[in-house]
Symmetry: C2
């Protein structure tokens, strides 16, 4: 594996290598319509709004979540195939 590819993959794995971000992804995938807004996510995590917003930004920057602003609300959904490609890396290197 090249150093460049390892660097790129590590950035994506780093994005989900946090307990709160794992729970965010899990919450969003279990939500109705496979999307959720920030206000739905702060309470179950027990974190403040700025912190949740920060974690969501990390996941968006890593290409794992998609952000769509509808009016005042920001809806987050999982980018199709993003997690599957990461899973593929793990199953290939076994």
């Amino acid at each position: 594996m090249s150093a460049e590819r390892a660097e790129r993959l590590a950035r994506q794995f780093k994005a989900i290598a946090d307990p709160n971000r794992l729970r965010l992804v899990s919450l969003i995938s279990a939500s109705a319509g496979n999307e959720a807004c920030v206000c739905d996510l702060t309470e179950p995590l027990g974190l403040g709004q700025p912190t949740v917003s920060h974690h969501l930004k990390v996941l968006v920057d890593a290409g794992i979540l998609h952000r769509e602003k509808r009016g005042v609300w920001a809806y987050f959904s999982i980018v199709p195939g993003a997690l599957d490609s990461l899973a593929g890396v793990l199953t290939e290197a076994r």
Copy 2:
């Protein structure tokens, strides 16, 4: 997802969320016999021996690598199923 499970999974993802550790896993899985010793791994990564030993310890502690001492050499191999269970978490939450 419970906070405890998220914490436990995050520890494993953190272990592979590093470019050098990703390369270590890749190098080991591509080695003859699916195992390698520290001396085989320092040169391709361009890191010092203590640093490589540290990364390998992180992977062993996370349950991803298995360490077997044979004489003076320490051989590392991938724990069967460890990466697959992590990959399963990603494919289920899509």
